[in-house]
């Protein structure tokens, strides 16, 4: 990617993440749509031999030979039996029955996580710079489990099974489904096995935001990643015939002769269907849009498809307006025609002019790439939100990372819009989603693994979470673009990832497989359900009192029962492991304007040894009939040099 290494401070921390062999012994496995091996992001110049422990390989198949593997791309496999059993044999005229990426998504995520350094990267000149993955010295292996028809869980399980055999160190999955429980979720099941083998599993949180309870991949042994913006934008300006100007974004790179005032028409008034305002296939009347700029509303169909529909109907340009669902969030697309995306407010103002002027006109001006955009990061409107719909006492998402307008590698099969009609071919593309933020964290986890190879997946995740930030340098709280207000832990989890701090967190909240088994007992899982997840006969001890609040999670989600009479107290226990120098940590609790009393005991923890463990308890007491609106706070331990910070989210169900 370009810009995000700088945004994350990775450029200033070369001594923290040395280009040592340890860094290049880490292997990131990516389950996705495959990989385009010829991309420079998978060049292995300067790489030493592949670690002896590695068992992966490039599977030879149609248009993909084992020679495609090198010391960067150390593995590429494909799993299609589930897909083909259900949908029939793969039509090789439409998709490659091989690890080759016909979609672009897999090349994008793999190069984001661990792509090699590529000078002069850009998309039509946009977002230009030196592209590199988060862990650009790490190795990458692709497990193609997603096909044109979707990602079938029988194939996903096979991919995860093989990745464990091959001995990846990190698994990155930018995919998910809505699942009712962990034991029915193949990604959760596969991730449990991977975790037991010391593999950190990083997954996308989903793009169903800003609705609450909209998360995917919520299992506590998974690192669940939401999406935020970075400090880069691609401004475009919509100039109206009444002299007013509105800002939007665009990645259009067509002929500049376009810059002139043209008639402006609302798609809803140039269509023969009620949903004509959405510019869906076959709904625009060519005579009414020919040579004009068409105003379309977002929704239902893909944004890039709307651009194609307007172009096919003879439109000269498109203004695509957000609706309430996406508010002021601006996601850029490489449309096939001059186009600008504008927020809901601008969209409403343009419509007002459109409907009031007898001859409305407009012009779209393109501003190229702008950096140092503030405020950034903001939580992306589409980023799925908590609370955790399966276990409200486990705060999810865990963290947010860059996921809006991310440039990274792309396939050679389709153009940047992914549409068949798009005959452009690009090395890099700019796309958005928690699919993009997940591999950022996968790569950052690989970096930390390279510095601390002995750390467990939980320790790495803890380090990423307790050092994440929730305020800007000016002290202002992170903004949620969906509301324009400060985001909450249900939106950003522990906050935005800060890898430079994460490599030296001071203390970590470690969790092992047995702790997770006790967690499953606390969920009152049957032996059969536990066996499905943990592949072992494990019987919960009927004499023990299990509680989900005992899982040593680096964050706190407290769920009171609304309307319960009398005050009630919920107790959490936590254990901190020292991974830094000896020190004495003091706790501070912040829970502004909250009626909930938070007591931490003890208030001081002293460590003298590495890996020394100390425990503490937290009691949350809500007065009877307390407010039933969510309350947020933080519990922080500091020795003056390290701050081990945990978010607290208190809600009433």
């Amino acid at each position: 990617t370009t810009r995000t290494p700088l945004f994350l401070g990775l450029d200033r921390s070369v001594n923290i993440f040395p280009e040592s062999d340890a860094m290049s012994d880490v292997i990131v496995g990516v389950l996705d749509t495959g990989v385009w091996p010829e991309r420079k992001s998978f060049d292995d110049t300067g790489f030493g031999p592949v670690p002896d422990s590695w068992k992966g390989e490039c599977e030879s198949s149609t248009n993909f030979s084992s020679a495609m593997c090198n010391r960067k791309l150390v593995g590429a496999r494909y799993f299609s039996r589930g897909y083909e059993t259900t949908l029939g044999p793969i039509d090789e005229s439409k998709e490659s029955k091989s690890p080759r990426d016909d979609d672009g998504h897999g090349t994008h995520t793999a190069s984001t996580a661990a792509g090699s350094v590529v000078e002069g990267a850009s998309l039509f000149g946009y977002a230009s710079g030196t592209a590199r993955g988060m862990a650009y010295r790490a190795r990458v292996a692709m497990y193609k489990v997603c096909w044109l028809g979707g990602c079938f869980n029988s194939d996903i399980l096979a991919g995860m099974d093989k990745a464990i055999d091959d001995k990846v160190d990190v698994l990155s999955l930018s995919l998910g489904g809505s699942t009712p429980d962990y034991y029915k979720d193949s990604i959760a099941i596969g991730a449990f096995a991977a975790m037991e083998k010391g593999i950190l599993v990083s997954c996308s949180a989903g793009n169903a935001g800003p609705n609450q309870f909209s998360l995917a991949n919520q299992a506590p042994w998974i690192t669940t990643v939401g999406a935020g913006t970075i400090d880069r934008d691609f401004p475009a300006y919509v100039s109206l015939g009444n002299g007013k100007n509105f800002s939007g974004v665009s990645l259009y790179a067509g002929d500049s002769s376009f810059n002139k005032m043209l008639p402006l028409v609302y798609a809803g008034n140039a269509s023969n269907v009620t949903s004509g305002n959405l510019c869906m296939m076959g709904t625009l009347i060519p005579e009414k849009v020919k040579g004009k700029i068409v105003l379309c509303d977002r929704g239902i169909s893909a944004r890039v498809q709307k651009g194609f529909v307007v172009k096919a109907a003879g439109g000269a340009g498109m203004v695509l307006t957000n609706t309430a669902a996406n508010g002021e969030e601006l996601v850029a697309d490489a449309h096939l025609l001059p186009a600008a995306a504008v927020g809901q407010k601008a969209g409403d103002a343009i419509k007002k002019y459109l409907f009031s002027d007898p001859n409305p006109t407009a012009e779209i001006l393109f501003g190229g790439t702008k950096v140092d955009i503030q405020p950034s990061p903001v939580v992306a409107a589409f980023s799925s939100r908590g609370p955790n719909s399966i276990t409200p006492e486990i705060l999810k998402p865990d963290i947010i990372a860059p996921g809006v307008n991310i440039l990274a590698g792309w396939t050679g099969t389709v153009g940047p819009t992914g549409m068949a009609e798009d005959d452009r071919r690009v090395e890099f593309n700019i796309i958005s989603g928690t699919s993009m933020s997940c591999p950022h964290v996968s790569g950052l986890a690989a970096l930390i693994k390279g510095v601390h190879p002995e750390w467990s997946p939980a320790a790495i995740r803890s380090a990423l979470m307790t050092t994440a930030y929730t305020v800007y340098e000016n002290g202002g709280a992170l903004v949620d673009v969906a509301t324009g207000k400060p985001s909450t832990p249900f939106d950003h989890g522990a906050g935005h990832v800060d890898p430079v701090s994460a490599v030296n967190p001071g203390l970590v909240y470690d969790i092992n497989a047995d702790d997770y088994l006790n967690f499953l007992c606390a969920l009152k899982y049957s032996p059969s359900q536990i066996n499905m997840i943990a592949r072992r006969n494990f019987t919960c001890d009927s004499r023990k009192k299990y509680s989900v609040t005992d899982l040593n999670y680096p964050s706190f989600a407290v769920s009171f029962v609304a309307g319960s009479d009398g005050s009630n107290t919920i107790k959490y226990s936590r254990t901190l492991t020292n991974v830094g120098p000896a020190g004495t940590y003091k706790v501070t609790v912040s829970s502004p304007n909250s009626s909930v009393k938070i007591i931490v005991e003890p208030e001081t923890l002293s460590f003298t040894q590495i890996n020394e463990k100390k425990s503490y308890t937290v009691s949350f007491t809500a007065p009877s009939k307390s407010s039933v609106t969510d309350v947020f706070g933080r519990i922080e331990w500091s020795d003056g040099k390290h701050v081990v910070s945990s978010p607290v989210a208190i809600s009433w169900s």
């Binding site: 099974d161 055999d165 995919l175 489904g177």
Partner: protein
């Protein structure tokens, strides 16, 4: 509809493998063949699941789930890219 086949993920309780089998794959296959002579295993998992994937009718899936050592027979789920 009862005859239509779908893919299922079959989770087995490996510790309950009958002594007559020396290899869990043989046990899996025997379990599968007990409900369908023609059914084939699509995948046999090793690390992530003790079990396999196979294509069955709803009735065969139901019947298999009642067998000893079978933890669950879950229908296939399609996940989406984010």
């Amino acid at each position: 509809a009862m005859e239509e086949k779908k893919t299922y993920i079959i989770h087995m309780a490996k510790s309950q493998m009958p002594a007559i089998f020396d290899d869990h794959t043989h046990w899996y296959d025997a379990s599968l063949k007990s409900v369908s002579e023609s059914a084939e295993m699509i995948y046999v998992y090793k690390n992530v699941v003790h079990g396999f994937a196979a294509r069955l009718t709803a009735q065969q899936a139901e019947s298999l789930e009642t067998q000893p050592g079978i933890l669950s027979v879950l229908p296939e789920v399609i996940y989406q890219l984010h």
